[in-house]
């Protein structure tokens, strides 16, 4: 017998109540209150009892839910605390944790990870929607990220190309040379620097690793071609001795020293600007920062 939509919504609310570790052993009165709060309709105790009976039935009629009335606590419980009528068993802690993670990801650039992430996570959370309907969203974290950067619409395609090792043809425009070029790259890495995203890969035209700003990439097309892979060692060597994303061509590594007073040194110490940075204290409160 198929489960009708209203009944299924009630089952989900009952399921959420039984999995709520902050309020264990809900009694009938609490279940009815939760149903009214979540679904906005009055439900009778008789209906809830029938719902519980159906939930206890074996699939496909029910969910084989291990619901039991606990006589000590005078409320209902799942005898298997990990049980959920949904395939993914999320309790209120799980949902809260996921929501917190989403908030952090959104703040540090959720939009950069594209809508695909949001859709996927919404799918997971839809099963726990009753636990997730906090209507007032107050911003807790803010970064200096500015959304709607040009070229970010290609992030998904380039990410997939890096992951699946697929060569990509695209149009590139060089701001400095004022030059368009159709290029084929074998992308290996997406990198962010100063709120700009870059794709790094072996460029057939240059016969070397190159970095391309996503804001200057147009019309990327993945193509069938043998992928020219680049090892992690080569990528590390390409990026390690660089500030930013563009290595200076034909230049060797150089030692750089910045002189700073004690006050400015606080900032350097608080946030390194390069992995190689180390500080050396000199006379009279002066510091040298070596890179």
């Amino acid at each position: 017998m198929p489960i009708n939509k209203n009944a299924y919504r009630r089952y989900k609310v009952i399921d959420a109540c039984l999995r709520n570790k902050m309020r264990r052993y809900p009694n009938m009165k609490e279940l009815l209150a939760a149903l009214e709060e979540k679904l906005g309709v009055n439900t009778t105790a008789e209906t809830v009892q029938k719902d519980i009976a159906v939930m206890k039935m074996l699939p496909p009629d029910g969910f084989d839910a291990p619901i039991k009335f606990n006589r000590t606590h005078l409320g209902y419980e799942y005898t298997n605390p990990d049980f959920s009528i949904n395939g993914v068993s999320l309790n209120s802690y799980d949902v809260d944790s996921i929501n917190e993670a989403i908030e952090v990801i959104s703040a540090i650039g959720g939009s950069r990870v594209s809508e695909k992430f949001t859709h996927a996570i919404e799918k997971v959370l839809s099963n726990a929607q009753e636990l997730n309907n906090k209507e007032v969203k107050r911003k807790i974290i803010e970064t200096d990220y500015i959304s709607e950067g040009r070229g970010f619409e290609h992030f998904d395609l380039l990410y997939s190309a890096c992951r699946d090792r697929v060569p990509v043809s695209f149009i590139h425009y060089s701001y400095s040379r004022r030059e368009f070029k159709a290029l084929i790259i074998h992308p290996v890495l997406l990198k962010e620097f100063n709120n700009h995203w870059y794709v790094i890969g072996f460029s057939e035209a240059h016969q070397a690793l190159r970095t391309f700003g996503l804001d200057r990439v147009k019309a990327p097309e993945p193509i069938y071609k043998v992928f020219q892979d680049t090892s992690s060692d080569v990528i590390d060597a390409y990026l390690n001795n660089v500030y930013g994303v563009y290595p200076l061509p034909n230049c060797t590594k150089e030692k750089i020293t910045l002189h700073a007073n004690a006050m400015i040194t606080n900032y350097f110490r608080a946030q390194k600007i390069h992995e190689s940075q180390h500080v050396e204290m000199r006379e009279q409160g002066r510091f040298h920062h070596h890179f």
Binding site: S169, I171, Y173, F180, K181, A219, E221, P222, I223
Partner: protein, 139 residues
């Protein structure tokens, strides 16, 4: 040659005397022949001038008299509408979609105007060499 495959050719062909228009790629599919262009504004106009495409533009190959008409464009208006630049440092990428040419190696001409001036987007003898074509992975 499998007709259903979409073939991509990297062209990077600059024409003369005006070198600020470049044909970047050609994509040959069952549905259309797409030509990708890059254009950057020049000092000729204080604000960079404008671009537009004649709706009567067409492709022709060196192997027949057939004209492959412009079907639609992406990011360039059809005349008399035009895209006005804001500065002489602007740059613009756009694509033209023509009726599909046969998938075989040939040379093509892009004709915007029959008796062109230097500023018209005519291109002659674009080499389509399918030996250098890449197949696009369709979504």
């Amino acid at each position: 040659m499998d007709k259903k495959r979409d073939l991509l050719l990297q062209l990077n062909v600059v024409r003369k005397p005006n070198t600020n228009l470049i044909i970047l790629r050609a994509i040959l599919s069952e549905r259309h022949t797409r030509i990708d262009f890059g254009y950057f504004a020049t000092d000729e106009y204080y604000r960079g001038g404008w671009i537009k495409m004649s709706p009567d533009s067409y492709l022709r190959t060196n192997s027949s008299e057939a004209k492959y008409k412009l079907k639609y464009t992406d990011d360039i208006p059809l005349a008399p509408a035009r895209l006005d630049f804001e500065s002489n440092k602007d740059w613009h990428y756009f694509s033209l979609f023509f009726e599909p040419i046969p998938k075989r190696s040939c040379k093509i001409d892009l004709i915007e105007v029959e008796n062109p001036q230097d500023t018209d987007f005519n291109y002659y003898g674009i080499k389509i060499d399918l030996n250098n074509a890449e197949e696009i992975i369709k979504p």
